[in-house]
């Protein structure tokens, strides 16, 4: 098994999408969600993905994370053509290269904080899963919450555990789907700081879905989706 800590994308383009179309539902209820998406995201970039509800942000995120297959088009992430991987291949790929932070945290309720963080490492066969999980939790300020179950943690703490879990395998890509959507403003801010800190320290490519223009503005680039299309690809907003 590969050592996850050393896993790096073999190509300078972190994510490359071309001609991606995706429809969901059946028959009359079928909706064309992603329309002819083409996209190139460089290694270590931070991308803010914005757009109204139903515009396809989360779906695009899932396509980039290998959670959803497009009907047409190609998706290359970390130098790997996702179209060539079967479902198990995609799962292994995610375990190695992609970290995901959800709006609703999605921690496993029967596992403690440290166990939750160790899950992706254990699944990838890392021998030091618990030591690394402990370090990750310490980095998000939860060194004293290792043995707590999700139900014993506040929303902010749960999201920090989720962030630690996403960052633990040192992923090449970190995707976050409205990570502060379920949190109050102050807590949300802490999470965002941790998220960007993780991205900067590790050189991880960050894709952040958000409704908050200010938050999007912290990213290197902002992509706006409208009715399944990328509205424009504005110039970098970093200046």
């Amino acid at each position: 098994m590969d050592d996850i800590s050393r896993s790096q994308p073999p190509s300078p383009a972190a994510i490359a999408l071309s001609g991606v179309n995706l429809s969901l539902g059946r028959g009359a209820a079928r909706v064309h969600i992603l329309k002819d998406i083409g996209l190139h995201i460089g290694r270590g970039e931070a991308i803010g993905l914005v757009g109204p509800s139903g515009s396809g942000k989360s779906t695009l995120l899932m396509v980039m994370a290998g959670l959803e297959r497009p009907d047409t088009g190609s998706v290359e992430v970390a130098g790997t053509d996702l179209g060539k991987l079967d479902e198990d291949g995609l799962a292994r790929f995610r375990g190695r290269y992609v970290g995901i932070v959800f709006q609703s945290f999605h921690l496993i309720p029967t596992m403690t904080a440290i166990e939750n963080v160790a899950v992706p490492l254990e699944l990838a066969g890392a021998g030091d899963a618990y030591e690394r999980a402990e370090r990750e939790l310490a980095k998000v300020g939860l060194a004293d919450r290792l043995s707590h179950y999700p139900a014993q943690l506040s929303g902010g703490e749960q999201q920090r555990v989720a962030l630690a879990r996403a960052l633990a395998p040192n992923p090449a890509i970190l995707v976050a789907d409205e990570p502060t959507g379920n949190l109050d403003e102050a807590t949300g801010k802490q999470i965002i700081e941790l998220l960007f800190a993780g991205h900067e320290e590790r050189g991880t490519t960050l894709i952040l879905v958000t409704h908050d223009p200010a938050l999007a503005a912290r990213c290197d680039r902002v992509l706006r989706l409208r009715s399944g299309r990328i509205d424009s690809e504005p110039a970098a907003v970093l200046q």
Partner: protein, 857 residues
């Protein structure tokens, strides 16, 4: 130790799926109680049946020489051993002789009763102990004193004739004085079914009765105790072998302590098989509960599964994690079941040891327990693999957006193949380990058909609900919609209730039909009395006596001898491989008769009847089904040993016999002249057209006992009662095991209904918000359960009745009458259980306050 190290070590085993599975179970076993209980019940039934049977077999083996009455017993029918035979036995150890026969006893007030007479010598018993009250010495008990021989009588005889110790009775020409109450005799199991109470006398007393006529139905048992220094198994084998070589024509049945009661052992084995099948039914019913529990568990865990997949778990790994969990839970259930099952023989022995007529040697039977465990785990896998396979394909996208409707997809092929494979292994094990594989195959076929048909019934019900016009009140529409909507309870309720009800109806119908055989069928055609041991010379006088004593009654009288089949078609009886339904023909001696005309109650279906004037070489007419079971056909030679003489005859024809008429019927009917010169007696039946009353019967019984003291009168009612008692005991065992299946069915049903509670709460809250009262909601849910229960009840009654018809006619070879009352009662019971369980579950949903639920929607 760091927390991380502690966390790692707390994760228990190194196998990752198991580690994850155990973590998942930390939340407790809530949601799995039905799963565990279902498996525990089924495994308990199988473990208990195996353990109790093992205890009985060990008990029989331990008590072998007590049951046989010696190390070896040489049994003869209708004749005593010849001098050569006696010498042979006497030279090999210590001998004790016992003779048994049925006889009439008469009290001084003229009342008479049928007794099982047993005559013993002074050395009885060689093994075990006789319990008398008062505890007299055997010589003192049996000796002749003041013109009467001593006797010990079973309490039932004393009660029947109003006797006490010191009273006198007669048997034949002998005067007997009852000197003790017979509490127990060690070799009781050596005999067959008792039609009357035991009367123990000495050998001299038996001879004084005058009942030992040539051809009388007396069984002589010569029990041999080998010298203590040479009583091993080899010594027993040597004696038996030399008996067979030195006295090949003795025609005796030789029993040794190691096969004390082969018939009993076979019956225990056979009965064990039936009960194991009932236990398997419990497991199969429980399997539905397993499938339901796994399905709803995985439904609850969809987010966790999706999360695991999001962080890198493959579908195969997810499957492995949840399979490990199912196996852990199955193991918990199985271990509980095994513990109770293993304890049961000890409990039975402790609580009922004194009442059970069979010796029990309670012990732990690892092989039986392992078998129960394997059955349990296989069942869990067979029912869990399908829903577990679906977990493989839980989409991670579920974490990002709600799915409109969860597709109830089939799992991948490998999981379907896995399910089929495990089901095949389960079926294979059930058939391979069966005593009667044909019955096991029928059982498996029936189970498969019932499963498929129940699924179709559920589909049909949902289809009908879907196509019902959308009229009536909103609540009626809700009830109907609940039957067919995606994720409806219909398939699980129909399956669990249908299985339970089909089983219940099957058993109730079989039970009712068995009871009917022993009661309802009697008055019309059954005779009132059997008379046995009518001396041939007295036959005409007996006919005249009956004509006078019972004018209008029908007397049927035929000659009868006893003989054992020793060889057929050139093969020794021991080497024949009879089918399970025909084995009994070879197990002991059979009644034989000869006739010029085809006997009443039977018809020739193959070959030609020889006619009244036949005068050629011996021919025999064989009962067709039994001949087939023994592999015999027309023209084959059959040799029976009658009174020590081998008699060979060829099969001239086959008959079908109506055994249920209770008339005189024989498996073997010979051509006239076959037994020329052999002493024989007659057997007769007396039938009162239109039935008889008790007074008539008592009068005849008394008159016959006075006029023919050597003739034994068996009131059919009593004989039937004796058999019915045994059947009732067996039925009790089956009912006990079936209760387990029914408990499993109710559990599964309750579990299925409870699983639907979340939807009920949602519906109830929305409807209450819109103004529905609790009473109206209750009405709607009640209607839904009623429709489900009713449709399933119709199917359950139909399926159960067909299964009972097949068992009664094909396995038990009896006639079948559908009993509408018991079927209706079972169906009504099922309906009540469904509606009640459903409403109990719904009631808590109705009492939910809307606000908290609405906030979380």
């Amino acid at each position: 130790m760091t927390i991380s190290a502690r966390a790692e070590s707390s994760g228990a085993p190194g196998y990752l799926p198991l580690r994850f599975a155990l973590r998942e179970l930390r939340g407790g076993l809530s949601g799995f109680y039905v799963f565990i209980a279902c498996l525990a019940l089924g495994v308990m039934a199988i473990a208990a049946v195996g353990s109790v049977a093992g205890s009985l077999k060990d008990g029989l083996a331990r008590e072998g020489r007590v049951i046989v009455g010696g190390d070896i017993s040489f049994n003869l029918i209708q004749r005593e051993a010849s001098a050569a035979e006696r010498d042979f036995i006497a030279q090999r150890g210590h001998v004790s002789v016992a003779a048994t026969m049925r006889a009439m006893t008469q009290a001084s007030d003229g009342r008479s009763a049928l007794v099982e007479l047993k005559a013993v010598d002074g050395t009885y018993p060689l093994y075990g102990a006789l319990a008398l009250e008062p505890a007299l010495d055997l010589t003192a008990l049996l000796a002749e004193r003041d013109g009467a021989f001593g006797a010990a009588a079973a309490p039932a005889l004393l009660a029947r004739l109003g006797l006490k110790t010191g009273d006198r009775i007669t048997v034949g020409a002998a005067n007997l004085e009852i000197r003790a109450v017979l509490r127990s005799e060690p070799d009781k199991l050596a005999g067959g079914i008792d039609f009357g109470p035991r009367l123990l006398v000495g050998e001299e007393a038996l001879r004084a009765t005058g009942l030992l006529q040539p051809g009388s139905l007396v069984r002589w048992r010569y029990r041999l105790r080998l010298p203590e220094n040479d009583a091993g198994e080899q010594a027993i084998k040597t004696v038996i072998d030399s008996a067979q070589t030195q006295l090949p024509d003795a025609g005796w049945e030789i029993r040794s302590r190691s096969n004390a009661s082969p018939q009993l052992e076979r019956n225990v084995e056979r009965f064990t098989q039936y009960l194991t099948l009932v236990g398997l039914t419990a497991l199969l019913v429980g399997g539905v509960g397993v499938a339901n529990a796994v399905k709803s568990h995985l439904d609850r865990k969809r987010d966790v599964i999706a999360t695991m997949k999001a962080v890198g778990a493959t579908g195969t790994r997810v499957f492995a994690i949840y399979l490990s969990q199912v196996l852990v839970l199955a193991l918990i259930g199985a271990v509980i079941g095994i513990a109770i099952g293993a304890a049961l023989p000890f409990l039975i022995d402790w609580a009922f040891g004194g009442i059970i007529p069979l010796p029990m040697e309670p012990d732990i039977y690892p092989a039986q327990l392992a078998l129960a465990l394997i059955y349990g785990l296989l069942t869990a896998c067979a029912f869990a693999l399908w829903p577990l396979g679906r977990a493989h394909d839980v989409p991670v996208s579920a974490l990002f957006r709600d799915e409109v409707a969860r597709q109830s997809r089939r799992p991948r092929r490998r999981y379907m193949a896995g399910t089929a494979l495990v089901a095949l292994v389960l079926a294979g094990a059930a058939v391979f380990l069966a005593y009667d594989r044909r019955i096991a195959l029928i059982f498996i076929g029936a189970a498969a058909v019932v499963f498929v048909v129940l699924r179709l019934v559920a589909e049909a019900l949902m289809w009908a609900a879907r196509h019902t016009p959308h009229k009536g009140s909103a609540l009626v529409r809700l009830a109907i919609a609940n039957i067919h909507r995606p994720g409806a309870l219909t398939p699980t309720v129909v399956l669990s209730l249908g299985l339970g009800l089909a089983l219940l109806v099957t058993l109730v119908q079989i039970d009712g039909n068995l009871q009917r055989q022993f009661t309802a069928a009697l008055p019309d055609k059954a005779p009132t009395f059997y008379f046995i041991d009518i001396p041939a010379a007295e036959a005409e006088r007996f006919d005249a006596f009956i004509r006078a004593a019972a004018p209008g009654a029908e007397l049927e009288r035929v000659p009868m001898l006893r003989g054992r089949i020793v060889s057929a078609n050139g093969m020794r009886a021991e080497d024949l491989k009879p089918g399970p339904d025909a084995a009994w023909v070879l197990q002991s001696d059979r009644g034989l008769t000869y006739a010029g005309e085809i006997p009443a109650g039977s018809r020739v279906v193959e070959g030609q009847w020889w006619g009244p004037n036949y005068n050629g070489p011996p021919l025999v007419s064989f009962e067709k089904k039994l001949a087939e079971g023994l592999g015999l056909k027309l023209g084959d030679a059959v040799t029976v040993n009658v009174l020590g003489r081998p008699i060979t005859a060829h099969i001239a024809n086959m008959r079908l016999v109506d055994w249920e008429s209770l008339g005189i019927n024989f498996v073997l009917v010979y051509s006239p002249g076959t037994f020329a010169g052999a002493p024989y007696t007659h057997i007769a039946t007396l039938t009162y057209p239109g039935g008889s009353d008790g007074e008539q019967e008592d009068k005849l019984l008394k008159a016959a006992a006075e006029a023919f003291p050597m003739v034994t009168t068996v009131p059919v009612k009593e004989a039937i009662e004796a058999v019915a008692k045994i059947v009732a005991n067996l039925a009790l065992g089956i009912r006990g095991a079936s209760l387990v299946s029914l408990a499993a069915a109710v559990l599964v049903l309750g579990g299925a209904l409870a699983a639907g509670r979340r939807n009920r709460v949602y519906d109830a809250v929305i409807l209450k918000t819109l103004g529905a009262t609790r009473a109206r909601l209750l009405g709607a849910y009640g209607l839904e359960y009623l429709v489900l229960g009713l449709a399933t009840a119709v199917f359950g009654v139909a399926a159960g009745s067909i299964a009972a018809l097949l068992v009664v006619t094909q396995v038990m070879n009896l006639s079948f009458v559908w009993l509408p009352g018991s079927a209706a009662a079972a169906a009504a019971g099922a309906l009540i259980v469904t509606v009640a369980l459903g409403l109990i579950g719904t009631f808590s949903a109705l009492s939910q306050k809307p606000a908290p639920v609405l906030r979380n929607l």
